[in-house]
């Protein structure tokens, strides 16, 4: 049994996995860890320098994508599982393995990948930028956001923001890694605490106005909201502070509508366009073979 200690990054796993595979080390012989503290308890054995031709390992491109995504998950078992599936795909001669969604290992990797994908998607959705100033030299607006991802997704999720918000300077701060864009370069720094990010933006109130008014109180369905926007995100969403009161007042608002006296139709105002429209409708109705009922 050998212990492989790696940085918790895809590239580190890939380099180590390549060497192990080249040396023919089976998955059962390897204990993967990305925690230096824990690793010191074992007698670590660094993988030997790779043999010539070690680069010639061919794996399906789909596996590399899957591995890159799984690597961002926080489950400690991911490195070992990735290596096991890599082994099966190559040495195990199961090249079709990824087509087997019914396989336990594949299913596990897909589940992790899906969780990471969801986390990335939610980051794209729920990051909220706050305006902090304007760069005196360039005139570019500067924004800062705070987000708490579940997995190590900052590097996977931020190229999206670069494409979308190229025209403004921004930083997204998270507890483990921060991303910054200045118009030319996307770069990363160490994580910070929440107090480093601004709490409010002058536009938040207007946004809450929108949120309050776009709700249809006659269709309240709280479970549907929560399955897509779980409570753990609420503390960083300016609009979430309204949720409780909106739910509480909805039934009363609907009762109010149902209790309103019905209004009779008003006659059409004098408007040339409306007159022409009514005339057009009448002549169309008179046309005998007009197909108006799609059923």
């Amino acid at each position: 049994m050998r212990t492989i200690v790696i940085e918790p990054e895809y590239d580190a796993w890939r380099a180590a996995a390549r060497q192990l595979l080249a040396q023919g080390v089976s998955p059962e012989e390897v204990l993967w860890t990305d925690d230096a503290q824990e690793a010191s308890l074992f007698v670590g054995e660094a993988p030997a320098a790779s043999a010539p031709g070690a680069n010639a390992i061919k794996v399906p491109a789909a596996f590399m994508d899957l591995a890159r995504s799984v690597a961002a998950h926080t489950d400690a078992r991911r490195w070992g599982m990735l290596y096991r599936v890599l082994w099966r795909l190559t040495r195990g001669a199961e090249r079709h393995l990824l087509a087997m969604a019914t396989d336990r290992d594949v299913r596990q990797l897909q589940d992790w990948s899906k969780a990471v994908g969801r986390d990335i998607h939610k980051m794209h959705a729920f990051v909220r930028f706050r305006l902090v100033g304007t760069d005196a030299a360039t005139g570019r607006e500067q924004f800062v956001a705070w987000f708490e991802p579940e997995h190590r997704i900052v590097r996977l999720a931020t190229p999206f923001f670069e494409k979308r918000f190229a025209g403004m300077d921004w930083s997204i701060l998270t507890p483990y890694e921060c991303a910054h864009w200045d118009g030319t370069r996307l770069h990363f720094t160490a994580g910070v605490s929440r107090s480093s990010a601004p709490d409010e933006d002058a536009l938040d109130d207007l946004w809450r106005t929108y949120y309050r008014n776009i709700l249809n109180p006659a269709r309240v369905k709280i479970s549907a909201m929560q399955s897509e926007m779980p409570k753990k995100y609420w503390k960083n969403l300016p609009e979430a502070s309204l949720i409780a009161s909106l739910i509480a007042e909805s039934a009363g608002r609907v009762q109010g509508m149902l209790g309103t006296e019905e209004r009779a139709a008003k006659p059409a105002p004098k408007n040339a366009y409306l007159k022409s429209l009514h005339a057009m409708n009448q002549s169309e109705a008179a046309a005998p073979n007009h197909e108006s009922d799609p059923a």
Partner: protein, 429 residues
């Protein structure tokens, strides 16, 4: 009137449009430009309101003043609702401010009809033009268009928008005559036909080798139908949707349950929104678009309305029991797609896996399929349901939700309970 008050009125007035989709746009982004914005790939819901609906676009009306008198609509001319009107610059600024804070994917802009169709269209287009040309905004824009507007204006709207739409509102002219006397189904369809022509034209231009890139045009159009405001059956509604999908290649037809509005009309009394019916229509719509079902199979002349207690696929399966059980190891894709509880993705997974293995129940459990629903309708290497089960009268009863769930959570079919999986698992271990 200040901007907050206008936003209150004009967002409130826009909420009855169900569409908030921001997917299906051409790929574009803000790199190399001065502005912000990107589209392409799947849409993003930036928030959810307590009605469970996604907030993706800032959905507002230019104005809620309207010449029309559609009785299901809060903005009809007979309503006494407070009227407001944005200037184009106000909408532009709100869109950019909201977008830069990552509240939204873009703008959904509609309007009450004022003065004339063309005049209204021009106001709406002016917002989109400023966003695109002055501010280099590359986010998502959905513009509502008016069928009576000139073709040039609709074409211009399509140049700036990622999606354009015209609401059918009601599936028959007869219903429109009563409830929306200004609207005309034939003109709506004609306008949709023109839009389809434009979309197709650009698509063809794009595919020509060596031709310069054609100017942008919306990549899709959609529409909305109101459910429960008139007496139209589900067969009529789905027939209309199917026709729009096939003849004008709409991306989406939205079904919007008629729901209580302030300022009700005496011609259309308020009632509780038929949410479960709306839900079943969406399920049926999915069957039409992704499962190769025909309208007559889902809602026929003999039974024109969907079964509210069961989803339409299960309902079809119970009416067509001779088709089952289907052998998941051998059946062609089109037959797998007919199995209740089996979605498109899992059909693909089954097709992929069965090339290398004979599927057993344990494999399906690992795919996290709804086993309880599936079991009577499938056979696997280790499962051959008795024909008896399929013949029995109690099969339908097995799938009916308990009555109290129908009342409490009537439009969300209960997710399969974990006990369903457990029972299957313990049965085969």
């Amino acid at each position: 009137m200040d901007i907050t008050r206008k936003l209150e009125i004009l967002a409130d007035a826009a909420k009855y449009d169900a569409s908030c989709a921001s997917s299906g746009a051409a790929r574009k982004d803000s790199r190399g430009g001065k502005g912000v914005g990107s589209t392409g790939g799947m849409g993003i819901c930036h928030s959810y309101t307590p009605d469970g609906r996604c907030v993706s676009l800032m959905k507002v009306l230019m104005t809620n003043a309207c010449l029309y008198d559609c009785h299901y609509c809060i903005n009809r001319r007979s309503s006494n609702v407070t009227r407001a009107r944005f200037t184009p610059d106000e909408v532009v600024q709100l869109t950019l401010d909201f977008y830069k804070r990552n509240y939204i994917e873009g703008l959904f802009l509609s309007s009450g009809i004022i003065r004339s169709a063309d005049h209204t269209m021009e106001l709406v287009i002016e917002v989109a033009r400023k966003l695109r040309e002055v501010h280099q905004f590359r986010g998502y824009i959905h513009l509502k268009t008016i069928p009576e507007a000139s073709q040039e204006l609709i074409a211009l709207a399509g140049r700036y928008a990622d999606r354009i739409s015209i609401n059918v509102e009601l599936p028959s002219q007869q219903s429109l005559n009563t409830l929306a006397p200004e609207k005309n189904l034939a003109r709506t369809e004609e306008a949709m036909g023109h839009i389809r022509g434009k979309i197709d034209e650009r698509h063809a231009e794009k595919r020509k080798p060596d031709a310069p890139k054609p100017p942008p045009f919306a990549t899709g159009q959609s529409t909305q139908m109101l459910v429960g405001a008139d007496a139209s059956t589900d067969a009529v509604i789905l027939g209309c949707a199917d026709k729009l999908y096939t003849s004008h290649r709409l991306r989406r037809v939205y079904y919007s349950a008629f729901s209580p509005i302030p300022e009700p009309s005496s011609i259309l009394p308020l009632k509780a929104p038929p949410l479960i019916r709306e839900h079943r229509l969406y399920q049926a719509d999915w069957l039409l678009r992704f499962y190769d079902f025909k309208v007559e199979e889902i809602a026929s002349a003999a039974a024109p309305n969907l079964d509210l207690a069961l989803d339409p696929k299960l309902s079809w399966a119970l009416r067509n029991r001779a088709t089952f059980p289907v052998d998941v190891n051998k059946a062609p894709r089109e037959l797998l797609l007919r199995i209740p509880g089996l979605g498109v993705r899992n059909v693909e997974r089954i097709l992929g896996a069965r090339r290398y293995t004979r599927l057993r129940l344990a494999d399906l459990v690992r795919l996290r399929l709804q086993m309880k629903k599936l079991l009577p309708f499938i056979s696997t290497a280790d499962h051959h349901p008795a024909k008896l089960g399929l013949d029995s009268d109690s099969l339908r009863a097995r799938f009916l939700p308990p009555p109290e769930q129908l009342e409490i959570n009537f439009d969300a079919p209960p997710a399969p309970a974990t006990s369903d999986f457990l029972s299957v698992r313990s049965g085969e271990l």
